[in-house]
């Protein structure tokens, strides 16, 4: 196994692979740092290049985008308080306050180094656990998938801060959005009111871009033209203060448990299908806060929050890679695109992938590992440039980002329909935020909705007995974990409410 990995590393170290990897990482960091440009969009933009490349070169470029993008998002998160990509959403909670307190350099480099270490620890799991996971994956039937998705939703229900009830409603709204349009089994139109526009359903990415980008940009615009100081513009043209990399690393390794736990949380979320970077970042943040000795400092520029979020979102990449390589199902939209690139080159992913394509499998491991030093190098060399990228006025940034959102939605399917959906859900997302509904559970429901229905119906079509969900061991175990997770969330919520008076949500 280690010799295979060594071969993989030597293989990737050739120029024909190293160059795409480096280029991918660079584009990833830039794309990740631009708000409204998600890692998914960046990887979609890179996709056409990979057609002309050797399969491994293309996959190396995409792995680079994924790693770079997961890190790049933290720059805007810290400086503007807008996550550059959804994966760094929780980095804003403490990164932005820390930067506002006059330590933008500390905030950013804590994030970058936490990403590197989280990613590299994740690599260990990627290399050693993907094989065993693939063996388990073959045993997953529709019952197991259904229960796995239920567990994922139950876990995210625990994420909601303000109101558990609103979190659950948000999840339901997300699930409901996927129900609209033709049903995935027999293509019967549902809730379309006879409209052609709704008939095609609401494609996932335009909805996601709409909800996220508009909710973010519009809540920022609300604060525009206010007395300066509070607005995001405060950090425009910032210069990083003097800091030491050694000290930043010391800050991270002083709490090995935090780093390890955030990495594992990120990894597990990555492995769980369809949850993705934003949930890993938020969940690790939440965990860090729960386990912290100083939970009251979270949200005010606490380094632990940045470390947890960034270590988790890079570890999440390794988890997602495990899922596409072991299960052959995408962990998120980014790996969905990677999976597409593999199949274009005639490589079928799935439980048999590693044994049938060891060169490519170990090449991906090697690319993932090497992407981290590449990313670090890019950040060190190009930080001044990237600071300028993010120090653009809102009046300039907002139109450009919105244009990119429109292009992203349009280019996905090459239809205006997606753009209309983008706008519609931009409004919906903004209104929901204004009503105090958390968006993360909604997005989760949105990603899982289709799959959960399909697997539920498949299970019933294969065998009408509903007890199989409980009596099949893996499925039963997952459902038990889901129930435990909900119980835990309710218990923590009750305790939380007793301890602190309910705060009015920010938005």
């Amino acid at each position: 196994m280690l010799d295979l990995l060594a071969n993989g590393l030597v293989n990737i170290a050739q120029w024909k692979y190293l160059l795409p990897l480096f280029a991918g990482t660079f584009i990833g960091v830039i794309g990740g740092s631009l708000p409204g440009v998600t890692i998914t969009m960046t990887v979609i933009v890179v996709l056409p290049f990979t057609y002309g490349l050797d399969p491994l070169a293309g996959l190396a470029a995409m792995t680079g985008v994924y790693v770079g993008g997961s890190t790049g998002g933290l720059i805007t998160s810290c400086l503007l308080g807008i996550p550059g990509s959804p994966a760094s959403i929780a980095t804003t909670f403490d990164g932005f306050p820390m930067a506002r307190n006059g330590e933008p350099g500390r905030a950013i480099w804590l994030g970058v180094w936490a990403s590197v270490w989280g990613g590299l620890i994740g690599a260990l799991f990627l290399v050693f656990l993907t094989g065993p996971l693939a063996a388990i994956a073959l045993e997953f039937g529709p019952w197991e998938y259904f229960s796995l998705f239920v567990l994922a939703m139950a876990m995210v229900a625990g994420l909601t801060e303000a109101s558990l009830l609103k979190g659950l409603i948000s999840t339901a709204i997300g699930l409901l959005i996927t129900v609209v349009g033709h049903d995935p089994i027999g293509s019967v139109p549902r809730f379309t009111f006879g409209s052609e526009f709704i008939g095609g359903g609401f494609p996932f990415l335009p909805v996601l871009i709409g909800i996220f980008a508009f909710a973010q940009i519009m809540t920022d615009l609300e604060k525009l033209n206010q007395p300066r100081g509070q607005a995001a513009e405060a950090l425009v043209g910032v210069r990083l203060e003097r800091f030491s990399h050694a000290k930043v690393n010391w800050e991270i390794f002083r709490q090995p448990f935090l780093l390890a736990w955030a990495t594992i949380v990120g990894l597990i979320i990555g492995i769980l299908p369809a949850i993705g970077g934003s949930a890993s970042s938020v969940m690790a943040y939440d965990q860090a806060k729960k386990f912290s000795k100083t939970p009251e400092r979270f949200g005010k520029g606490h380094p632990e929050g940045i470390i947890a979020s960034e270590a988790a979102n890079n570890a999440n990449v390794s988890g997602s890679l495990m899922t596409i390589m072991a299960f052959g199902i995408p962990g998120d939209a980014v790996t969905a695109v990677m999976l597409g690139a593999m199949t274009i080159h005639g490589i079928q992913s799935g439980p048999l992938f590693i044994s049938q394509n060891p060169d490519i499998a170990y090449g991906i491991y090697a690319a993932y590992i090497l992407a981290h030093p590449c990313m670090l190098l890019i950040c060190v060399v190009l930080m001044p440039l990237m600071l300028r990228v993010t120090s653009v006025r809102m009046a300039v940034l907002a139109p450009v980002v919105l244009v990119l959102c429109v292009v992203g939605a349009y280019a996905l399917n090459n239809t205006m329909q997606s753009v209309y959906v983008l706008l519609l859900f931009g409004v919906v997302g903004y209104v929901l935020v204004k009503l105090g509904f958390p968006l993360a559970p909604l997005i989760l429901g949105l990603i899982l909705g289709d799959q959960i229905e399909i697997n539920l119906v498949r299970a019933i079509m294969t065998d009408p007995s509903p007890w199989l969900f409980l009596t099949r061991p893996i499925s039963g175990g997952l459902l038990a974990a889901a129930a435990a997770s909900v119980a835990l969330a309710i218990w923590q919520h009750v305790r939380h409410q007793n301890r602190v008076a309910e705060e009015a949500p920010d938005f």
Binding site: P48, A172, L176, K223, L224, A395, L402, M416, Y420, E453
Partner: protein
């Protein structure tokens, strides 16, 4: 006992889920699928209806007074700008298939920049125009010419 923001939101969601729930029972079923297309939506909708009803209940039972005080302290938000921005984006999306990506984007970037921070000097106006033209030209060149990602063409302009 008065109804608040959450209560109203809950009532609306409750109404929506009940209407859709009725619809989901009317969906035709398929001969070879044991559960119809309404099966899963009805589960989701029942769940949503129940949760919305609870939200209304929770809101009605909540003690008020504190909320009113904190509302006035909240920073003044510029909702006018949000409405204008949504309006401009809406116009952009509507014009995109008519004028084509390049023309519509120049107009959109220019208009939104003006709305968000109106330039005062000639130099600022020039910068605005440069950004508008630059955004449209760069995204066109990069996406359509270089990456071969097609962008909308205008029905009126054919361009």
């Amino acid at each position: 006992m008065s109804i608040g923001r959450d209560g109203i939101a809950g009532l609306i969601l409750l109404a929506v889920s009940l209407v859709l729930l009725v619809q989901s029972f009317q969906l035709p079923s398929l001969p070879i699928v044991p559960v119809g297309p309404g099966f899963y939506p009805s589960i989701v909708l029942s769940f949503m209806a129940a949760a919305s009803a609870l939200l209304v209940l929770q809101d009605l039972l909540k003690r008020r007074g504190l909320a009113a005080a904190s509302a006035s302290e909240a920073p003044r938000r510029n909702y006018r700008l949000v409405v204008i921005t949504f309006g401009i984006v809406g116009a952009y999306v509507a014009l995109l298939p008519l004028l084509g990506f390049r023309v519509a984007t120049v107009l959109f970037v220019g208009a939104l920049q003006t709305a968000l921070g109106r330039p005062r000097k000639v130099r600022q106006w020039l910068a605005l125009a440069a950004i508008a033209l630059g955004t449209a030209a760069a995204s066109y060149l990069i996406f359509e010419r270089y990456l071969l990602v097609l962008l909308p063409r205008g029905a009126w302009t054919g361009f």
